[in-house]
Each structure stands twice: as structure tokens, then as C-alpha cells.
């Protein structure tokens, strides 16, 4: 077991940075997921950790030791590839034995290891078979067994579930998590699938364009997305983003509910939703529509659980609401989160910034609303402390009751 660390890691492929200065550090025995769209650099990052790709700049550390100049086999890592990369001409037994033979492990010990790994992954009946005779799930387990027998310090997994069908994937995800818990080895897992990332990761690093957008627990990633990218990449359907002056307002579809479903206590924002389409998905109803925005109309989605039985008709304007606590504020320029702070005291003075607030400034969110902007988008009901401070000051959409 060891800690994997990258320092200012960069990889440039013919002038295009694939990985653009990444600093990451796993905890001991942690399950760290690298999540991002294709082309975000997550696989390149993993390959640099594995030693299959040389960094253009920066360092990779495994167990506190800089391994930049070590070949893959000297790094004591194990990797499971997207295709599993089993040796097609070898039996399952020979596949698992290969890394042991390469290390010169004596025969009895090899047999012992194979027995142990195949028992752990329940693949004993398959030992005599060739990879092409196995199903996707079985191949994955063989690949894991092959990785496991090496006693690696770190597991690297590159989208190991993407070749499985949906049903098997859910099962395999569970098995992977369970497996990692049992062996307790530090694991770096690459995926573009947010469900996998949320389900598996102790922490998730969301990557885009070679940079880490956010590193945090699944809870943090979902409930406090650090950038508009994370907000829209994680969550299905994605977070609704609407422009309001210098900042962008975000709210998750499941928090965007008919007015009567959102308590007035704690403050809320009201929006007039013109419903365009309603999808019934059994447990949920997706309501697609538009709300009046800065330039024309913004498309938004509401996700109503089946417990909300209100009749929603297409082509009709409905009044929807979002609780203030569920509103996220982002800078329009940087896309970074602006932490909205609860109102400390009623008489507190606040500044209305002339310039757009930077990411670090912990301005009350509402204050970013420039005076004079006139969007009759919605209104905020009078609320308690959680109401954004903008409430009395900003013209619309905030309607002050205090």
C-alpha cells in the first residue's frame, strides 16, 4: 500500500497539453476516481502514473519516491485495462502466473498465489480456459486476479467496466468496491461514467482539459460543484444553469419543483416555467421547459419524483421554485463557484461590487447581481437566515420581504 502523488504533472502531445499541471495526492488505501469526459487527460494521467507515458514536466511519486525514471515493472503497480488485455494465447492460469513468472517466483509459491487469487475472485473453474471462452465479467475478474497476485502497492484501473453490458456493470461495480475494501490497496480508477465515479470513489477528481476542476468526496462533488463544468458534468439530468447578470445561477433538476412543493421557510426563488415537454420515467417525471432569461429563454429541466402528483401540462406556464439553500452561484467569467454565505445579521451592510466577484471572494451571492438588471424571472420569497443577502438590494429576481 502506498500513496500516489503527482506534482505539477504535465504531458504535451505535439503542442496540445493533454495533462496540464496536475497536483493530486491519494490517501493511504484510498479509492480515488478520475472522472471526466473523453479527451480530458484522465487516461494520460493514469498512464503516466503507470509509467507507460513519460511526463513532459512534473513528478510522479509512489510511496514517497519519485518514479519518473523507473520503468513500469519497477513501480510495483498493477493495471487493469479497458480491454482487460488478457494474453489471448495463454490459459487463465498462465495469464495469472505470467507476472509471477516474470518476477521469478518459485513454482510452489506461484501455485499458492494462483489458488489464493482465484479463490478470492471465484474463478477457479475457469483456470484451464482461454480468454476467448470467457464472458466479459469473467475476463474482468481474471484481469483483476492477474493484477492482484503481484502484491502491488497501487492498483490502476482504466475504465474496466466500459466493456460490460449495463446489468453486469452494476454487479461488477459492486464487486470492485467490495474487492478493494478487502485488499485495501490504494486504487486510482479512471472513468467517464459519473455513476461509477459516485458509487466507487472515496474521493473524485473531476478533470477537464487536462486540469483538475474539483477534488472531493462524491457528496461534495454533487452538492458543492466547484465549477459550472462539474455542475453540469455530474448529475443526470445536469444542473440547470441560468445567467443572471455577472453570475450564473445553478440548481439541480430535482430541486426545481412546483411552488407548493418548496417550503417558504428558508427562502426560495420562484420561476415561471413554460413547460414544453413532460417525460414519464416511472419513478420520475422530467419536465423540460424554458424560463425567461437575459437573452431570450433559458432551457431548464425539472425532475419530479413520482410522489409529486401535481398535473403539469405541456404548453402551460407553471410557477416553480427552488429553495435558496439549493441554489449555486458561479462567476460568469471564470465559471467558479461563489460561496453564498448565510446572512449573519439583519442589519449587516454589504457592498455591491463594481467588478465581477472572483472565485475566492466570499461575497454574498446575491450581491453579484448588478443594480438595474431587469429580469422578471422570478421572485424570492421572504425567508429566514438562509436567504441570499441580495434579497433587499437586487432589483429582480429577488423580492424582499424583510
Amino acid at each position: 500500500m502506498a500513496v500516489v502523488e503527482t506534482r505539477e504533472l504535465r504531458k504535451v502531445f505535439s503542442d496540445t497539453p493533454a495533462v496540464d499541471g496536475i497536483d493530486l495526492r491519494t490517501e493511504e488505501g484510498e479509492y480515488l476516481v478520475l472522472l471526466g469526459p473523453s479527451g480530458c487527460g484522465k487516461t494520460t494521467l493514469l498512464r503516466m502514473i503507470a509509467g507507460l507515458e513519460r511526463p513532459t514536466a512534473g513528478q510522479v511519486l509512489i510511496g514517497g519516491e519519485v518514479v519518473n525514471d523507473l520503468p513500469p515493472r519497477a513501480r510495483r503497480i498493477a493495471m487493469v485495462f479497458q480491454s482487460y488485455a488478457l494474453y489471448p494465447h495463454k490459459t487463465v492460469r498462465a495469464n495469472i502466473a505470467f507476472p509471477l513468472a516474470a518476477r521469478g517466483v518459485p513454482k510452489e509459491e506461484r501455485e499458492e498465489k494462483i489458488r489464493w487469487a482465484s479463490a478470492l475472485l471465484e474463478i477457479e473453474p475457469l483456470l484451464g480456459q482461454k480468454p476467448r471462452q470467457l464472458s466479459g465479467g469473467e475476463r474482468q475478474r481474471v484481469a483483476l486476479a492477474r493484477a492482484l497476485v503481484r502484491d502491488p502497492q497501487v492498483f490502476l484501473l482504466d475504465e474496466p467496466l466500459s466493456n460490460l453490458d449495463a446489468k453486469l456493470r452494476a454487479l461488477a461495480r459492486e464487486e470492485l468496491k467490495e474487492f478493494q475494501r478487502r485488499v485495501g490497496t490504494t486504487t486510482v480508477y479512471v472513468t467517464h461514467d459519473q455513476v461509477e465515479a459516485m458509487g466507487l470513489g472515496d474521493r473524485i477528481a473531476v478533470l477537464n482539459k487536462g486540469k483538475v476542476q474539483q477534488l472531493g468526496t462524491p457528496w461534495e462533488i454533487y452538492h458543492h460543484p466547484a465549477t459550472t463544468f462539474v455542475a453540469t458534468f455530474v448529475g443526470s439530468p445536469p444542473m440547470n444553469l441560468i445567467e443572471r447578470g455577472d453570475y450564473v445561477l445553478g440548481f439541480r433538476p430535482e430541486h426545481f419543483l412546483p411552488e407548493d412543493q418548496v417550503a417558504e421557510r428558508g427562502g426560495r426563488m420562484l420561476l415561471d416555467l413554460r413547460v414544453e415537454r413532460v417525460e414519464y420515467l416511472g419513478s420520475d417525471r422530467f419536465v423540460y421547459g424554458t424560463i425567461p432569461g437575459v437573452s431570450g429563454h433559458d432551457k431548464v429541466i425539472a425532475r419530479l419524483p413520482f410522489t409529486v402528483t401535481a398535473k403539469i401540462d405541456e404548453g402551460v406556464v407553471n410557477r416553480f421554485a427552488v429553495a435558496s439553500a439549493n441554489l449555486h452561484h458561479y462567476s460568469k467569467d471564470t465559471g467558479r463557484r461563489i460561496e453564498s454565505q448565510p446572512l449573519a445579521g439583519a442589519g449587516r451592510e454589504f457592498r455591491r461590487p463594481e467588478s465581477p466577484p472572483s472565485a475566492q471572494s466570499a461575497q454574498p451571492a446575491g450581491s453579484a447581481e448588478p443594480a438595474g438588471s431587469t429580469q422578471p424571472a422570478g421572485s424570492v420569497e421572504p425567508g429566514s437566515a438562509a436567504a441570499p443577502e441580495a434579497a433587499g438590494a437586487a432589483s429582480t429576481p429577488w423580492e424582499s420581504g424583510t
Binding site: G51, I77, F81, A85, L86, H89, R132, R146, R150
Partner: protein
């Protein structure tokens, strides 16, 4: 729908209209496109093959071009001929040794050419050159290289002290050396094709499998002999099949370099069939020698194709 439109739609189904789309049908277009190739094969491969088989059961000669059936007499006469047996042995030696060398060298070359290095383009070009050269031309060049008096190889050997000054190897004059020379030239000729086939085969090995071996701790030799060469086997067997068929039936190198000599020591089946049938005029005997190769080649091809399908890469 207006009346005019209706009439147009109806017109579309008339026989004349339908014949316009005849070529859209696979059942028509396919055979039509295949026809030229089929005619070519029948005229230039099928007809001579049938003629040869027919001739081999007769005692036809150029002087007496009558098909007189003699049963297996021609075959008996051919097999009884000591030159035929020499030719048969030579053909096998020639094929086996040259193909073993070709496979080994082509594997080494293919691995070397896969790597990135400066001048890789030139190296690839030079190695492919023998394949692009007309066989007869290349072999004539070798004829000069192996000349009994002016061989540059002898000159080099003399200069590095392996031969006395003005010493000569007489490459094509001594039976064993002549055979070795023929094998050498054949290897030179067949190597490019095998190398290209193997290079193409290498791209079929998934990158991830090679990387997995690297991560699994395998060094260069273990990756080479444990993973890459076994995975290349199906492709290698295809290269061998091509090589064997080409070599077994080839007479160009023998014909140009030694003409089967000295004293028929380098005669192979193909050249012997030619000398018997065309130069000697015994069409029947020449055909019998040629037909003798046919079942051998069919058997070889079947064997190698079966091997190739068994060692399958999934």
C-alpha cells in the same frame, strides 16, 4: 395526389423503368463484376492445369503431338529417373531451408523496423527493394555477384584474408555451394514479402496487451518470446504458406543462376519439368513432373491453413 403524379408513379413500375435498376441488384452486379477475373483464371490457370493433368497420362512429345493414353507409365518413367529424385530432394531442401531462414530473418527485421529510428524510411525502402525488382533482373545481378572469376564476394573475402589472393570460391561451380547460393538468393528475394506480412501482423497485436506485459514485469525477451511471437504465429504461418508455395514452384533462380547444374545438382522439380517438357520436348514427362507437385502443395496449404485457424487470436 393529383392525376399526373399518379401516372408517374405507375410509370415507374413499367418493365423499361425497372431494367434501369437491374445493376442495383447484388445478384446481377456481383457475377458481372466477377466475370473478367473468372475468364482470366479459367483461360490462364484452369486450362493449362487441365492440359497438364491430361498430358501426364499420355506419351505426348513435341514431335508427336497426339494424346495417346498410357496410364501411369509416364509417372513410372519419371520417378525412375535419378535426376527426378535429385530434383525432388533439392526442392524440399531448397524450400525448407530458405523458409526457415526467411521466417527467422523476417521476424528479426520486422521487430527492428517497427522501432522508431532515424533513416527508418530508407531502411524500409532498401529492404523492400528486392521484392520490387523483377525476379529475373535481380537474379542476373546475383549471377554477376557469384561469377566464377569476377565475383565481388570473392574479392572481399580475399581482402579480409579468408581467401588466398586471386583465390576463387566458384559459387555456382560446386554442387553444395551452388545449392547454398540458390538458397541465399531465394531468401533475399522472399524476405521482403514475409517482413511486410509480419509488420502488418504486428499491428494486430493490441497495444494494451503489450503494455500489460510491460506492467506485469516482463522484460524484453519475455515479452518477445512469451507474448509477441506467439501472438504473431497465425500471421507467420500465412507468410510461411506464401513462401512455401512460391519457393516450391519456382524455377527462376535456378534457371538463371545454374540452369540446374552442375550436372543437375541444383535441379528442382519446376526446372526439371521445364527442361523435360519444353527443352527436351517430352511434354508428357514434363507434365507428370509438374503434376507431381500439385497434391504436395494442396496438402501443405491445407495443413498450414488449419494451423493458422487453430492458433487464433481473439
Amino acid at each position: 395526389m393529383t392525376a399526373t403524379q399518379t401516372r408517374e408513379v405507375l410509370a415507374d413500375t413499367t418493365p423499361q423503368r425497372r431494367s434501369r435498376y437491374l445493376l442495383d441488384r447484388e445478384g446481377v452486379l456481383g457475377p458481372l463484376l466477377l466475370l473478367p477475373a473468372v475468364i482470366y483464371l479459367l483461360a490462364l490457370v484452369g486450362l493449362p492445369l487441365v492440359t497438364a493433368i491430361l498430358y501426364s497420362f499420355t506419351d505426348i512429345t513435341t514431335g508427336r503431338p497426339v494424346l495417346h493414353y498410357v496410364g501411369l507409365d509416364t509417372f513410372r518413367a519419371v520417378v525412375a529417373d535419378p535426376v527426378f529424385r535429385t530434383a525432388l530432394r533439392n526442392t524440399i531442401v531448397f524450400t525448407v531451408i530458405s523458409q526457415v531462414l526467411v521466417v527467422v530473418l523476417a521476424t528479426i527485421l520486422a521487430f527492428a523496423l517497427r522501432a522508431d529510428f532515424r533513416g527508418k524510411w530508407i531502411a524500409r525502402f532498401l529492404i523492400l527493394l528486392p521484392w520490387a525488382t523483377p525476379i529475373a533482373l535481380g537474379t542476373i545481378a546475383w549471377l554477376w555477384m557469384l561469377d566464377s572469376l569476377f565475383s565481388p564476394i570473392d574479392w572481399v573475402l580475399a581482402h579480409i584474408g579468408l581467401l588466398p589472393p586471386d583465390g576463387h570460391m566458384y559459387w555456382l561451380g560446386k554442387p553444395d555451394l551452388a545449392m547454398a547460393s540458390i538458397i541465399g538468393v531465394q531468401v533475399w528475394r522472399m524476405l521482403p514479402l514475409a517482413t511486410v506480412i509480419l509488420l502488418a501482423g504486428m499491428t494486430s497485436i493490441p497495444q494494451e496487451v503489450k503494455e500489460a506485459a510491460e506492467i506485469d514485469g516482463a522484460g524484453f525477451w519475455r515479452r518477445l518470446f512469451g507474448i509477441e511471437i506467439p501472438l504473431l504465429l497465425p500471421i507467420t504461418s500465412v507468410a510461411v504458406l506464401f513462401g512455401v508455395v512460391f519457393t516450391f514452384t519456382d524455377m527462376t533462380v535456378v534457371y538463371v543462376l545454374t540452369g540446374g547444374g552442375p550436372q543437375n545438382a541444383t535441379q528442382v522439380l519446376a526446372s526439371w519439368a521445364f527442361y523435360q517438357g519444353i527443352n527436351g520436348g517430352s511434354l508428357g514427362q514434363g507434365a507428370a513432373v509438374a503434376v507431381f507437385m500439385f497434391p504436395v502443395l494442396v496438402g501443405l496449404a491445407a495443413l498450414i491453413l488449419r494451423l493458422a485457424s487453430r492458433v487464433e487470436v481473439s
